[in-house]
Symmetry: C2
Subunit: 79 residues, 2 copies
């Protein structure tokens, strides 16, 4: 069973990586871009096959390691 | 209109960030994890509202800037 976690900066938190990408896209001639934000995606493969247990584990992982609750949001997808 | 690009390392390409996360999760007592891979997610907001045009632009952005075609795969979602 596979879990995918998206970790993105909360709105209002400065995102220098996203700004750098936006600037580079402008330099390359791309137009009409109003905002760029960059985040992380973490894919975790589990031996466990019970969705509820996997989700509970991943929630704990996000709280303890994967995301910083002050500045980041996370979203979990199980497949 | 918003595009979300997932950039992940191709399988077979060494992923030291993912390995570091796997190791840290093990240290925290999480068990039954067979693999961890870490990638990037880039969210781009467009003024343009035509899905086909936005998708074509984002494909070009991936080829020219966002992903390294030798080592990385990318997937585009438009919403």
């Amino acid at each position: 069973m596979k879990a995918r976690v998206h970790v993105t900066l909360k709105s209002g938190v400065l995102d220098p990586q996203g700004e750098a990408v936006r600037h580079a896209l402008g330099t390359l001639g791309f137009e009409g871009i109003s905002a760029v934000r960059q985040g992380k995606v973490i894919e975790i493969e589990f031996e466990e096959a019970d969705e509820a247990q996997v989700r509970a584990q991943v929630e704990l992982m996000c709280e303890n390691l994967l995301a910083n609750a002050v500045t980041e949001n996370y979203a979990i997808e199980i497949s």
